[in-house]
Symmetry: C2
């Protein structure tokens, strides 16, 4: 019998990733903090609440419209901290370099890292560099691990979600995935689609200041909006209903998705967040978001519903209903 092997789809952020984590990693490594499977792990020490998150970046190509692997490695980890309501403080960085990688390109990546870290107000305080032989890696892989501080009173958790909660997104979806994909495939559009890569702590900080009614934040990276929403409802006694009409999808992204045969709901974002909030607190949160440069296009896109539980459904433009399942294949490998 052919042994089971790792497939590209295990890294898609979709159903196979989810199963691998739930079945292979979580049982042996189980502890209550890891088990939350949140974007950031939160723990307390001597009365101080801290958050840790880790991500390896293997995006291909390493340079794409609107960013590069260095910028992504900083923003991505800062954003995971922000999703935990944590102010980013420090990052560590680990490079795995492929023999033959031009130092000039490494300098460009490191400069991006520098600029992004300054923009986010974080210091990189620990690092590591490994080199693997040609053909045993691919140019550069970067791991960043972030440490952040969570203020008292901030509680962002799936447990706080209630039926009736409104679901908000801070702008157009699918731009990062499409920017990387068109660059990789050598496709050209009249208006090149840029990655939305952006650091979100500033926006989150304003949202937290505006209302205590913020229940959960998630960033729809690998696997996109549909996958993240499925993670939220998974195993819970509530569902989610999205309004297709409300989804902010840019025209260029829609066209590119048509051409590439992709569904923008499953395409990665790197500057977007999805917020679940108490219905009577939507107004102050929306107001705070729209005042921020990364929140101008904020929209309410759906709400938490009682039935069907554990499912994400979408009311389509024509009035029908579509089930949005988890990503099952490998729609976009190495997108982050």
């Amino acid at each position: 019998m052919e042994p089971e092997r790792i497939l590209l789809a295990h890294g898609s952020g979709g159903k196979l990733s989810y199963d691998l984590i739930r079945e292979l990693f979580l049982p042996p490594l189980h502890n209550p903090i890891l088990a939350t499977l949140a974007d950031a792990a939160i723990f307390s020490r001597q009365g101080m609440r801290l958050a840790i998150t880790t991500d390896s970046y293997v995006v291909d190509p390493i340079f794409f419209p609107g960013g590069d692997i260095g910028k992504l490695a900083i923003y991505g980890t800062v954003n995971d901290l922000a999703m935990g309501g944590a102010k980013p403080l420090y990052l560590s960085i680990g490079f795995i370099l492929e023999e033959g990688f031009p130092l000039e390109e490494l300098r460009v990546v490191v400069n991006s890292i520098k600029e992004a870290a300054q923009q986010c107000g974080v210091d990189i305080i620990a690092g590591d560099t490994k080199v693997v032989p040609r053909g045993k890696g691919d140019k550069v892989f970067i791991n960043t691990t972030g440490l952040g501080a969570v203020s008292e009173g901030v509680e962002l958790s799936v447990d706080r979600i209630c039926v009736g909660d409104k679901i908000i997104i801070n702008g157009f979806i699918g731009e990062h995935g499409i920017a990387v994909m068109t660059q990789r495939e050598g496709l050209e559009f009249d208006t090149p689609i840029k990655s939305d890569a952006a650091p979100l702590w500033g926006l989150v900080s304003q949202m937290l200041g505006a209302s205590q009614g913020l229940h959960l934040l998630r960033d729809p990276t690998r696997g996109g909006v549909a996958t993240v929403l499925n993670e939220v409802v998974g195993g819970n006694d509530f569902g989610i209903r999205l309004e297709e009409e409300a989804l902010p999808i840019g025209e260029e992204v829609a066209v590119a998705c048509e051409i590439l045969g992709l569904d923008p709901l499953y395409v990665a974002n790197e500057g977007k967040l999805i917020a679940f909030c108490q219905p009577d607190e939507v107004e102050p949160i929306l107001k705070a978001m729209k005042r921020h440069p990364y929140g101008r296009e904020t929209k309410v896109i759906g709400e938490v519903v009682a039935a069907p539980p554990g499912k994400v459904i979408m009311k389509t433009r024509v009035g029908g209903t579509r089930l949005l399942d988890m990503l099952t294949g490998e729609q976009l490998p190495r997108i982050c």
Copy 2:
């Protein structure tokens, strides 16, 4: 002109690694904590002293006598925290898997991680998994980032080193590098050499409890004892003199090094530490070390000298003197 490229030797932990870090990474990313280039970065927050360290593990082969990449990924990071005098608390873990990697091998690695983490008393609270296509990675790379707590009064730093300080090692050198190398090359010895991979916080904790005269701890991993000692003296106004006769080198390692053309002083260890301590505090520290299972073979191997500054010299068995430079080539690629 041919562009400058990453060489395998940039990952050796030797001179090229050192230069890459000093010249390419450090200037743009500079901050006072990173600049210490210590095994663990120490910072304070609300009166609490914490330590962070990060390491990516790319060892080839992933299974070797005495351990595997999973065990290494836990011990290595726990040990870097211990070298900062930090009690290990939490780890994050990031996997980069190659398409086609057998799930059965991944399970074995994850089980090693579990056992090693339990042994070290650390919880893995954050994780990430990426997959790269066949031929763009090599089975599995693992990043672990560790967070530890440093007790008040613990100060381990190059700044504390004084001329006359004794240099101590907790046992035989070169075993990890030789175990990996013989496995990789398919060499067989009557008594197979096992990696010395071991978690060192328990030993360090006893040393810290025994004396305030401990000035610095370093673990001689990549690049071995000679490289780490060169890092310590680099740019400083003191030197180091080792006694060849005192160096604990096992017979099998000595033979294997002969055959492989390696110098055990440059071969990686994963369960060794080098301690610099005040001469009048050597006795209590030695006593504490020898009581610990990982310190039974502890030896004083040299001392800090005034001249020549910035150099590591070795008094050889026949009474001569040998300069131990930094590793300049790539003696042992992918050893950790």
